[in-house]
């Protein structure tokens, strides 16, 4: 009898645990975080505040102004490139095309590629690049604007290395990271854009993130 009670207790404990975990895999939240203590209704409440992507203002390949608000309600992937890049950009965008093809007709998903050479990569140059790459519509924006603002956004917000260095081929140092951002503008994943396997993982993670944010809305 005792044994039976023990088993029943175990089963109850197990199901309690199971009840608490949400179904399906979850993605981590990256970036700096702060614990903020606020007073709500006379009670002290401590909340974790995650790093989010701050406001920015750039111009896309169609000449439209794009700010952080233009991405409201979207999951998006960001990367940094330049059109005359001889090293890793072609392979990054060959891989990004796979992401684009998978999600181009999804209304709450976007790709943004920031040029780190805005002097050469004018709106016209970006439009031509987009046409040649074979991308249409508004699922993938190529963004151009103030160089310092772009570098700062890369280094401080997306936490990827971007800088000018005339000693490297093409004149710029940058890493081939694809950064996944959720609808709350938090960083949810880093993927090496030159690695086909990681890009396949990115596609899977975008699907996970979409279910996550859709259930969050439903609740």
């Amino acid at each position: 009898m005792r044994k039976l009670t023990g088993i029943i207790v175990l089963i109850i404990l197990y199901s309690a645990c199971k009840f608490n975990t949400n179904d399906g895999p979850k993605l981590p939240i990256y970036g700096n975080r702060d614990a903020v203590t606020k007073t709500v209704n006379g009670k002290e409440v401590t909340d974790t505040v995650y790093q989010t992507i701050p406001d920015f203002k750039f111009i896309n390949q169609y000449g439209d102004s794009i700010s952080n608000k233009s991405l409201n309600g979207n999951i998006y992937v960001a990367d940094f490139f330049f059109t005359t890049c001889p090293s890793i950009c072609p392979i990054m965008h060959r891989n990004m095309l796979k992401v684009y093809d998978e999600f181009k007709n999804v209304s709450d998903f976007k790709i943004i590629s920031h040029t780190i050479d805005p002097k050469h990569d004018t709106v016209a140059v970006l439009k031509k690049y987009a046409d040649k790459l074979g991308i249409k519509g508004n699922a993938w924006w190529l963004l151009q604007g103030n160089k310092e603002a772009t570098y700062e956004l890369g280094q401080k917000s997306y936490l990827v290395a971007v800088k000018q260095d005339d000693g490297t081929p093409g004149g710029y140092v940058h890493q081939g990271w694809f950064v996944l951002i959720d609808k709350q503008k938090r960083i949810r994943g880093y993927y090496d854009g030159t690695d086909e396997k990681q890009v396949t993982k990115l596609i899977g993670d975008i699907k996970i993130l979409r279910t996550e944010s859709n259930t969050a809305i439903a609740q």
Binding site: S87, I88, R94, D131, K132
Partner: protein, 139 residues
């Protein structure tokens, strides 16, 4: 006795042909395998693993007719790159620059042997002697 002699001669001829053939094949393999590695390091980012290029930005290496026609000029393209000109590959036009490289003639020969015998191309071994001669004639 006569049969034995004929058999022996035939055997020798066989051995010579096989060994000669395999020497050619060995040279080809040496170039091809070396070229494959160099291709991965120097070319694959842009021209891709199967030589398919990238959309309309970067031309593929699968146009057998283009490679054949420009065979003598390929070493120059690898060495000195292409400046902003329009080239037509597979009936599609591409413009833009291809960067120059600091590869030696032997390395270029290896890359050309790899590319020239991959992606549907069948050009045989392109030796460093051929490459060196071609490089003399670069414009």
């Amino acid at each position: 006795m006569k049969v034995k002699l004929i058999g022996f001669i035939a055997l020798i001829i066989c051995v010579i042909t096989i060994s000669c053939q395999s020497e050619d094949q060995l040279e080809f393999k040496r170039y091809y395998i070396g070229g494959q590695l160099l291709y991965q390091q120097k070319c694959q980012n842009c021209h891709a693993a199967k030589g398919e290029g990238l959309s309309s930005l970067i031309p593929p290496l699968t146009d057998t007719a283009y490679l054949k026609k420009n065979k003598a000029n390929l070493a120059c393209i690898v060495k000195y790159g292409i400046k902003e000109t329009i080239i037509t590959v597979n009936g599609k036009s591409y413009e833009g620059a291809m960067p120059a490289t600091d590869l030696s003639p032997v390395e270029i020969a290896k890359i050309l042997t790899y590319v020239g015998n991959s992606f549907g191309n069948k050009m045989g071994t392109i030796t460093s002697d051929i490459t060196e001669a071609d490089l003399q004639k670069c414009k």
